[in-house]
Symmetry: C2
Subunit: 341 residues, 2 copies
């Protein structure tokens, strides 16, 4: 005995009304008399009916689902896990469902494009994306008629709303804070510099500018180079750099995750923060408050970003391209144990 399919027609028959009336009751669009409304509700309960969202989407052209594309959300100390939660909450407030797509942490343009394609294919109403690998050269391959909001450094100027992070200014503030705390030999822990403008180059700019503005006694820029932005890479890179005799009096981590890996690397060689070196990160992940020592950080306003991203996407859905396309998230410098002498 296979369970009979229950559709709106089934419910309609049970309630003695037309399918359209069932639809109206469910969507609450048209006004339906209380009598029928009750009969339909009873019939739904009796039949165990559940809406087929797929059919609704096919017909109406709207799914009520938005996608969030974040790289490496399942990696340890990922900034994106936190952001994802806030965006989901904000989406729910507006009656939208959020689904998260998270390709691996390796930034591959094809993977990112495929994830966008998939969201489009699944008829998401739009997506909020954080491209890591997409550059201006891929701009033409982004679907033109698919609402997109870009977070973080953008792949060149597209006609797409964009929420940037305060990368340069934040890194500047972080570096300045280290200098104020007495640091005079600050190492930046980051990936190899590139020609393109990325989050790495922007933050490195802020770091260098701060050192330059402070004056000669701020010391020269110095990079502890890591192969990827994982805490693991940072751990071994910092450990080896210390073993090779490099002993800066402060570290600026390109992300909080990287900085936490660096702290672990320092512990590996018996060094202690803030006693032996100061340290500050970037991202404001919650784990930074719980670590020992807790880490100072540049914390962009994640709630602001989530709210703005969803608002921009909703604007795209309802009103077309807005006037203002460029936004930069506010930030605060959070001072914790890792920069306290």
């Amino acid at each position: 005995m296979s369970a009979a399919r229950v559709t709106m027609a089934t419910v309609a028959r049970e309630a003695g009304v037309s399918p359209m009336t069932v639809s109206n009751v469910l969507s609450g669009k048209q006004s339906v008399s209380p009598d029928l409304r009750a009969r339909v509700a009873a019939a739904i309960a009796a039949t165990g009916y559940r809406m087929n969202a797929t059919a609704r989407t096919l017909r109406s052209g709207r799914s009520g689902v938005i996608g969030l594309l974040v790289p490496g959300a399942t990696e340890p100390y990922s900034y994106y896990a936190r952001l994802g939660g806030l965006v989901a909450q904000e989406a729910r407030r507006h009656g939208l469902t959020l689904v998260v797509e998270s390709p691996g942490p390796a930034p591959e343009a094809e993977t990112e494009l495929a994830a966008i394609e998939q969201g489009r294919s699944l008829q998401y109403d739009g997506m909020i994306i954080t491209p890591l690998a997409l550059g201006p050269q891929h701009a033409s391959r982004l679907p033109a008629d698919f609402p997109l909001v870009v977070l973080g450094e953008r792949p060149g100027p597209l006609g797409v709303p964009h929420i940037g992070l305060p990368n340069r200014d934040g890194a500047y503030a972080a570096t300045w804070h280290l200098l104020e705390q007495g640091a005079r030999d600050i190492a930046l822990i980051s990936g190899a510099p590139t020609d393109e403008e990325t989050v790495l180059t922007r933050r490195a700019d802020g770091y260098r500018d701060a050192l330059a503005d402070w004056g000669p006694e701020a010391g020269e820029p110095h990079l502890v180079e890591i192969s990827d932005l994982s805490p693991y890479a940072a751990r071994s890179a910092v450990r080896e750099s210390v073993r090779r005799g490099r002993r800066p009096d402060a570290y600026l981590g390109i992300t909080d995750g990287v900085l936490l890996g660096a702290l672990r690397g320092l512990a590996d060689v018996g060094l202690h923060v803030p006693r032996d070196a100061l340290a500050i990160g970037f991202d404001g992940i919650p784990e930074g408050e719980l670590s020992v020592p807790s880490i100072s950080t540049i914390s962009p306003d994640h709630a602001w970003i989530a709210q703005r991203a969803v608002a921009l996407l909703r604007g795209l859905l309802e009103a077309g391209t807005p006037d203002d396309l460029e936004f930069t998230a506010p930030y605060v410098l959070v001072e914790r144990e890792s920069t306290r002498r």
Copy 2:
């Protein structure tokens, strides 16, 4: 000028074939002559056609999407973030797409049921769920004809495949390890005990049994009670318990996240692990390897769980209910700094 809709019919016209042939080329079900295959491919490229997965799902009854329901995946130190990544990877290997639904960390049965309903409504082929609040009393409200695989403690015996964690045995092993390392006053950091069988009660059982088996000198069971399973709750609970004069020589955290919060709480009052107390957790989250000190833990085999969960779900999709419904994940005790004298 609005972009014209491009459907299979458009492609078919461009290629001079029927829509059915386009469908066959795309799905690879039927064999199509190389000539037509090439013409269709060219037409797809020329028109910029993308499949509408919604329509395909409606007609075929299969979406190729499976849902993963994990509570609090975006919370700091969540065990589920890690697991989600592995399940996604495993699903991809089988041509399935995984989407993650993550209600907040608060265990509310209605929220969990709603998330399952939503997955069903969106025509997911099935879901892998980790119910926190669902109990036997909700069993009847689970959709009967919707493939489900349950992870963790199950809401009573359902006719549903279930992968359990080695909760009792793992907690036993963890406690025993602390005893072997010399601990004689071990506190369990956990939520208030309940009547129902939950992850909390199972792990507490293992803890108590190990103390009993060791003998009188193992000391009495002692609970540091936390209001929820977050690291924040653990931090304040442990800190306050120390301030009230409680000074056990070891802690067993009900989860790694809880234990990391506890370490932070100990640091708040100037206590150091492993010098002043030993500590071990449960879950094997990657952050436990990176913290200072790194934490010993009971680490269930996450890859095994992910693989088995997807295999079970696929079995449900293709072959109906399997013979074996009950599985328990293997685990290893990972010894790190937090239990090294």
